[in-house]
Amino acid sequence: MKHRITLALAGLMLMGMIMASAVQLAAADGEGLRIPKVVEAGSALSIPTSAAGKAVLYIVSPAQVLRRNVEPGEAIVIEPGALHNAGHYLALLISQGATDKAEFNVVAARQPASVNFLAKPSRLPVSRPDGISGVAYVFDVFRNLVLEPTPVSFQLSDSAGVTQTRSVATHNGVGWSKMNSAPKAGAAQFQVSVGSVAEKRVVQQVPGDPCNLKMSGQRSGQRMILETAPVRDCSGNAVSDGTIITFTQTYNGRSEATVDVPLKRDVARTEMPARDGAVISVATGVVLGNEIRVGAQR
């Protein structure tokens, strides 16, 4: 613990000294340090110096600090990968009696190395225009957001093999697009490609509300055997198994029997008491189906 506190204090003192030197010697800005104003992350850097004696170079940014000893007359070499965090940097060359200062920016490498892909929603009904959105964040190999406009391609392939493609350029490192959900239910592969990098998500396209809900009934002694026709949505997709179908029997306008039945293999099947004159109706959610009057079908 004591060791950590000592290190932290030493670090603070070092930063303080560097900043104080920078303020004091602002007038000498860039006179002895010639650094490009823009450096690509991860690239090597050679900084010529004119220091007469031994000196120390500090390169400081919010994300990292580098320290290099400088021999008289030698150029300072920053090896590839050493400067890898994009951002604004301050370089200070401190020698006996003089301090040189320079500022420069490290930008992300041009070559995308990874992409973070947000695909929403993970599940939606079929035939929804612009229902699926994809957002891609493009990063270089050092996980710096690539701010330069970069072409991004979104591809949505549904279960029938139909593919929608959209190509956009990133803006401040982010590219986005919207896609339509297909009329056919099933898992769609949603892929984003940036150069040779690709990321994939699965979007489940599920059937919509049931269309033309119909049932039939057959009397079996004192019971009515009720069964729906295969339940489909308006695009012809089979409604998901497990969807609740409600059968209600009313007599003189009042409910006498109710049963919630889950769809299994596209149909719902149940039985109810057979009372002459009773009306049996079928519904699911807020969708109503047909009615059967016990004794005569309509």
């Binding site: 609740i244 409910s255 919630d260 889950p262």
Partner: protein, 373 residues
């Protein structure tokens, strides 16, 4: 000085209460204290009381021995009648109290209506039995109205089980990796009512997704200046697990907030994707409204699946002639639901709504021992 006065008051009040309890004990206290001294078989009422006191103590041997018709059934059937053959609310319920109403009596026979009040973890439930008491020699004995649970013949009931299992995102997934979407639910009806000096929010919630949802509904009453008066949730007056396209009623009680103070109501339904099973299917049959004085909606639950349902929560939604919700009531079946075997249920509703109720709808949610849902 003030401490002495308080101590003296406590002592006096305690003494008064002990004296009152000793001189005018309630029936339950009589049963617990010295049942044999106050209830005996020398009178029909005493015999019935003695029997129910033994039941209360779960002293099955003594209760069975006191019956007049024990030759008609074994003791195990008697115990099953009172505690249920399968695990159910009855299995863990205790007879909290009872009262006997004489129906008729003669020199050698009497009849009583026994209201048995059972207490369970989800509240109390009533069991009404008509007890016939007959004179055997110089003793009165109860002819127990045995209620035998039907036995299901051994058979195979084919069921295509359907259930949903969920794989959630892992902790190591990056922030771009999507998680499974929460189910989409929607409030399809909402009606605040002023009742008993408080406010009650009644409504219905629909799972409009294709996956099962665990749902809750929270309501906040807002005053004219937008400030929150109170916040409550539906707790047990809702069916928490909703299958796709299933509708549940909900009721949220605000006992200390008057509707006249309320300017707006903020309803917040929430849903979580859960693993669930589509079975068992419970049919609700023979529904009917029972008039005053005991206003209730009664009917029968029929388990259309092949497994035993141990606990059944029943929710009733009551509508007026415009189709608006005017009440939501809930209750539990005290017995397990055996396959294809009707079990009676009753849901009470306020007597003042008897003339307004035009229609109703009953839904159930179930729990089976050894299964997730």
């Amino acid at each position: 000085m003030r401490g002495w006065l308080l101590a003296l008051t406590i002592v006096v009040v305690t003494a008064v209460l002990i004296a009152a309890g000793t001189l005018w004990p309630i029936q339950t206290a009589i049963a617990m204290a010295s049942p044999r001294s106050t209830s005996n078989s020398s009178s029909p009422q005493g015999a019935a009381q003695a029997l129910l006191q033994e039941v209360r103590r779960r002293n099955w041997n003594a209760a069975y021995a006191a019956l007049a018709n024990k030759s008609e059934f074994p003791e195990t059937d008697f115990i099953r009648d009172l505690t249920g053959s399968y695990t159910s609310l009855r299995s863990y319920a205790s007879l909290e109290g009872f009262d006997l109403s004489p129906l008729r009596s003669s020199a050698d026979e009497a009849k009583f209506r026994a209201n048995l009040n059972w207490s369970s973890v989800v509240g109390t439930f009533q069991d009404v039995r008509e007890l016939r008491v007959v004179k055997e020699g110089d003793r009165w004995q109860v002819v127990w109205p045995i209620n035998r649970e039907p036995k299901i013949p051994p058979q195979v009931i084919p069921v295509n089980y359907l259930r949903w299992d969920v794989i959630y995102r892992g902790a190591e997934d990056d922030w771009g990796a999507q998680d499974v979407e929460s189910p989409h639910v929607r409030i399809v009806a909402m009606h605040p009512v002023d009742r008993g000096g408080g406010t009650i929010i009644l409504g219905e919630l629909l799972n409009e997704d294709v996956v099962p949802a665990f749902v809750t509904v929270k309501a906040t009453l807002l005053a004219k200046d937008g400030s929150a008066i109170a916040t409550e949730d539906s707790f047990e007056n809702i069916s928490h697990v909703l299958l796709p396209k299933q509708v549940t009623p909900f009721r949220i009680d605000f006992q200390k907030a008057r509707l006249s103070q309320v300017d707006n109501v903020r309803i917040e339904p929430s849903s979580t994707l859960v693993a669930a099973s589509a079975d068992p299917v419970i049919g609700i049959e023979s529904q009917k409204l029972n008039p005053l004085p005991t206003t209730s909606l009664s009917g029968q639950l029929v388990n259309q699946s092949g497994q035993v349902v141990n606990i059944t929560h029943i929710l009733g939604t009551f509508y007026d002639n415009r189709g608006q919700i005017i009440w939501v009531s809930d209750g539990y079946a005290d017995r397990a639901l055996l396959p294809q075997t009707p079990v009676a249920f009753s849901l009470p509703y306020p007597a003042d709504l008897a003339d307004k109720i035009n229609n109703y709808r009953v839904v159930t949610s179930t729990f089976s021992v050894g299964r997730f849902q």
